[in-house]
């Protein structure tokens, strides 16, 4: 193995790292902001509201991210009408298409995680909120969502890691993320081990960092469940 090739070309990996971090964090932030209202609608008792959200989640969780990305990147060009609008300036960009696919995908998974957390709310808390006369929205804002976020944390940390791994698909539509960088190095020097092992090391490091951050967060958010005073 010859890692001097990697050392000479490490710049392209950092460019890829930059793109990966950007894509993943943007998708996660926008996806989360979408997921909160969607989860509230999803748990609504009115079928008129909850059914469309259900269908959206069903589609995005039941199909591969790769196919979703292809549908957006290659597929949308099929609609001449769309091409004549301002949207096309964004939709013809691979970067924007990948971001859109990732965002819609993570929003669907996050909605489902939040739904579980919302439905897991202790009924006594809801009763208490009702008894002091809170509306459903106030109750969501003050009682249900704050504790639901806490309950959703472990599952959400998994989703963040899945999104990081899923983002490697961006390399398929010409984006130079970490995987894209490895593919360039491999095709330029024909050094698959060095190229992809380096990429793997980058992803491993990122994964460990995410796990560490969520451990920290869990430690804070679960302070009331900590048993170190007894043990």
């Amino acid at each position: 193995m010859n890692f001097s090739i990697i050392a000479e070309n490490i710049g392209i990996y950092f460019e890829g790292l930059n793109n990966t971090i950007q894509l993943v964090s943007l998708a996660l932030v926008i996806g989360f902001l979408m997921a909160v209202p969607l989860a509230v609608i999803r748990t609504s008792k009115n079928y008129l509201f909850s059914t469309p959200v259900r269908a959206y989640i069903y589609f995005f969780r039941g199909t591969p991210l790769l196919v979703q990305m292809f549908m957006i990147y290659y597929g949308l060009g099929q609609f001449e009408l769309l091409k004549s609008t301002f949207l096309w300036t964004y939709l013809k960009e691979a970067y924007f298409c990948a971001l859109l696919a990732f965002t819609l995908n993570t929003a669907a998974y996050t909605t489902e995680i939040l739904r579980g957390a919302i439905e897991g709310t202790n009924y006594g808390e809801i009763e208490a909120a009702k008894s002091v006369g809170m509306s459903r929205l106030k109750m969501m804002q003050r009682i249900i969502l704050p504790s639901a976020f806490r309950r959703a944390l472990p599952a959400y940390s998994n989703e963040v890691i899945f999104m990081l791994h899923g983002s490697s698909l961006a390399s398929v539509i010409t984006i130079i993320d970490i995987t894209g960088a490895a593919r360039i190095i491999n095709s330029r020097y024909y050094t698959p081990y060095e190229a992809f092992l380096t990429a793997a090391l980058f992803y491993l490091t990122l994964t460990f960092m995410i796990v560490f951050l969520f451990k920290k967060l869990e430690y804070r958010w679960y302070a009331h469940l900590r048993r170190d005073d007894i043990a």
Partner: protein
Amino acid sequence: MLLNLHGYGPSILEGTLLTLKVSVISLIIAMVLGFTGAMFKLSKSRILNFISQSYTTIIRGIPDLVLMLLIFFGGQVMLNQIAPKFGYDSYIDINPFIAGVLTIGFIFGAYMTETFRGAILAVSPGQLEAGYAFGMGKIKVFFRILFPQMMRHALPGFGNNFLVLIKSTALVSIIGLDDMVRKASIASGSTRLPFTFYFAVAIIYLIITSFSGVVLSWLDRKYSVGVLKG
């Protein structure tokens, strides 16, 4: 018909068959690796613990695509470096089917390890002791006592892993395997109707995952007949 596939229907279905084949074979590999990994994790040997712990940690920290490209391209280089030493001189092309199936099986073996480990731990040790007390051997205890009871605990996680596995098979199209995603890209290249074909493939994936979901919940009911439910 809502979706006019312009005569590419049979080709897409051929791809579907390949997708199913990849799913099933890699599932079998993943289950074998998962059982082995779980046994390693629960064994008293430190070395085996270390091996299985590194396996699950590393695999779950690397994207599927990177692993697949590593095995596909890296395996090719390795084979061609090793083969001449055994007196085999012509160039070897690694079969994308084997690379794909091995990678997916290898990745999901790590996820299955965790699922099976938890499920084995959930079976009360008294059950196994009772089995031994009746004079059953290790293998009999496994098939008669441990397996039927652990399946119930393993099924939800197993089902989840399987659904993710099916969707991961789409990646094999990237290394040139003719699964339905690649068939769709071929068809959309010549008809200029990419959305139609990718949408059709998405619907087929939905059908496969929904059907698997039904089978899994049936299995779940079957394996928990012995459990009282409020």
